[in-house]
């Protein structure tokens, strides 16, 4: 990031430096104290909006909690988790979520990689391309769901219009249990690939041009340069994008909610949508919590791989 350093060095540098007034040890101690003081707001926020909710989630998943009636809260142990195993809705939602994850993660990574490679060519004017990557990133997920619902509209959608012009049969996309999930996937890939592209672009820009030039002089083809220079050096960025995309794909909610409301039938209902319906709409908090714990555990497993890597780097 570029920042302009406008401030002049403080006048103190001009005066003769005094000897450090306080013993070094005291300063170190003070720094520790100040450090924790400065961390306090962040720690408080985290405790309030992450630690407490997670503790409560784990706790609630062991209870029967119905907020709708006067039924008392009852400890039921692992009953919610047992119910979960036999729940057809949960199984279907898990299947849909898995399908969306398996389709959108590799494809948005691939699309993002291609977009990043395209954006990294030395364009004379950079801003139009940069804006083309930023706009999809900045749009709310829910908006991209709505916009794609309009694209795939049966009668007046632009996709069917194109099919017609190509003399192909039109499809009632969002009313078909086969097509609707694929349309949700496409909207997701469009929305997320630009973010992937921005991350990979950052990685691409750290690769020294000299490497490519040297390889070109040695007669390496464009493909060889990509395969033996770009891709290996880009690997760390790709891993970051992959993990973040996987975790967020497992949480898919906004796009199917705005696009199909989970339909037709339950063809596009994801785990996150089922959790929302169970806990917020039907106020069945205990069971909803158990579902959320399941999703949490899977996401955490994937995150852990990445966190271990980050922790080792930070040490």
């Amino acid at each position: 990031m570029t920042t302009t350093t406008r401030a002049r060095p403080p006048s103190a540098t001009l005066s003769t430096p005094r000897t450090v007034a306080r013993p070094r040890k005291l300063r170190a101690l003070n720094d520790q104290l100040l450090g924790w003081l400065l961390l306090l707001p962040a720690v408080l926020l985290l405790a309030l909006a992450v630690v407490y909710p997670v503790a409560r989630l784990l706790h609630d998943s062991l209870f029967d909690i119905q907020l709708s009636g006067a039924a008392p809260v009852r400890f039921i142990g692992l009953q919610n988790y047992q119910d979960l195993l036999a729940d057809i809705d949960a199984r279907r939602a898990a299947g849909n979520t898995l399908l969306i994850t398996l389709i959108t993660v590799p494809l948005s990574l691939l699309a993002g990689l291609l977009m990043a490679l395209g954006a990294n060519l030395n364009w004379r004017r950079r801003w139009p391309i940069r804006l083309a990557l930023l706009l999809p990133w900045a749009l709310p997920m829910a908006f991209s769901g709505m916009i794609f619902a309009w694209f795939f509209n049966s009668d007046h959608g632009v996709v069917n219009d194109l099919l017609q012009r190509l003399q192909l049969p039109t499809v009632r996309f969002l009313l078909s249990p086969f097509w609707a999930p694929l349309c949700v996937c496409l909207a997701t890939i469009w929305k997320t690939s630009s973010f992937v592209a921005l991350i990979l672009l950052a990685g691409l820009q750290t690769i020294p041009r000299e490497l490519h030039e040297a390889a070109e002089i040695d007669g390496a083809s464009r493909w060889n340069r990509f395969w033996h220079i770009t891709l290996p050096l880009l690997k760390p960025s790709i891993v970051v994008a992959l993990i973040f995309r996987t975790v967020s794909a497992l949480q898919t909610f906004d796009i199917p909610y705005a696009m199909t409301q989970g339909g037709p039938g339950h063809a596009t209902q994801t785990l996150a949508m089922l959790i929302n319906t169970t806990a917020v709409d039907y106020l069945n908090v205990g069971y909803g919590s158990a579902l959320a714990v399941l999703l949490f555990a899977v996401s955490l497993g994937i995150s852990a791989l990445y966190l271990r890597h980050v922790y080792q780097e930070a040490q």
């Binding site: 909690i65 395209g118 083309a132």
Partner: protein
């Protein structure tokens, strides 16, 4: 390079540019076109692409059918409030992590990134339950707090990388001059960090502006909906007034578009620096 090779490579570049631009802008442009069409033009077959008789009627409709201004107000209030909250917490934390030799720094950083990857769905149920018990559903606060936390990791990482790059001499000079650490932070480091803080603020603002899951659950009452949630309510059970929905979408996209046009370099730079490089 031969002339023909040069030409084919220039052709390829033109195609790459075209694909990137269409991919980035077509959906927004299509929504803009839709918003300018009348209902009759919209239902023509085959459909028209360019609006034949552009009208702004859909925009009036968008503001009268639903309290669109109210949605915008709610979104602004929550996004700005949570961004400020994020900045206060992130600046302090980033300075502590980057400049003070804290014990357990690795653990703090790891914890932050863990939060960045934290599944928001996990917060949905307990937050809903807690806010309901505290009668905080449908208040600004219900969303501000979780949003502030949501942006905390990115903002902190961005500022950590910024503070780390600052020359130590500046701070030493201030300290020698009799400034306390806090004084040095306030008078020397913070003014220099202003651009980075601003960038972090924009990222936090966009995050909050876009959030949907918690917004639809915690602030579901008509008067308290944020933009992404409110816009879903233009559709009836069986009716989809697409021109009006599109007009509302355009109104909602304009502030975002302005933000990224004005601050595109900062935003890309910020995403890349604080971006999830860890």
């Amino acid at each position: 390079m031969s002339a023909s090779q040069n030409k084919s490579s220039r052709n390829l570049r033109a195609w790459v540019a075209l694909v990137l631009l269409v991919n980035g802008f077509f959906p927004a442009v299509w929504i803009l076109f839709t918003s300018l069409k009348t209902e009759t033009e919209l239902t023509q077959t085959p459909i028209t692409w360019w609006p034949h008789a552009p009208t702004l009627a859909n925009y009036t409709q968008a503001f009268t059918q639903q309290p669109l201004l109210h949605f915008i107000g709610n979104s602004l209030e929550i996004a700005i409030g949570s961004a400020l909250l994020t900045l206060v917490a992130a600046t302090g934390a980033a300075y502590a992590i980057a400049r003070l030799k804290l014990k357990g720094r690795g653990l703090i950083l790891t914890g932050l990134i863990a939060v960045a990857m934290f599944p928001p769905v996990t917060l949905l149920v307990p937050l809903f339950e807690t806010m309901r018990a505290l009668h905080l559903l449908n208040t600004v606060l219900a969303l501000m707090l979780p949003y502030a936390v949501m942006s905390l990791p990115v903002a902190t990482l961005l500022l950590v990388s910024f503070f780390k790059d600052m020359p130590q001499e500046l701070e030493d000079a201030a300290l020698l001059d009799g400034c306390s650490r806090l004084g040095a932070l306030w008078r020397v480091m913070l003014p220099l960090a202003a651009p980075a803080v601003f960038t972090a603020g924009i990222l936090a603002f966009v995050n909050a502006w876009d959030e949907f899951l918690l917004a639809q659950a915690l602030n579901a009452a008509p008067d308290h909906r944020t933009l992404p949630v409110g816009i879903l309510f233009y559709q009836g059970e069986f009716t989809f007034p697409w021109p009006v929905i599109s007009a509302a979408l355009v109104v909602a996209i304009v502030p975002l578009a302005l933000l990224i046009v004005l601050f595109q370099e900062r935003v890309t730079g910020g995403l890349m620096a604080g971006g999830l490089k860890g």
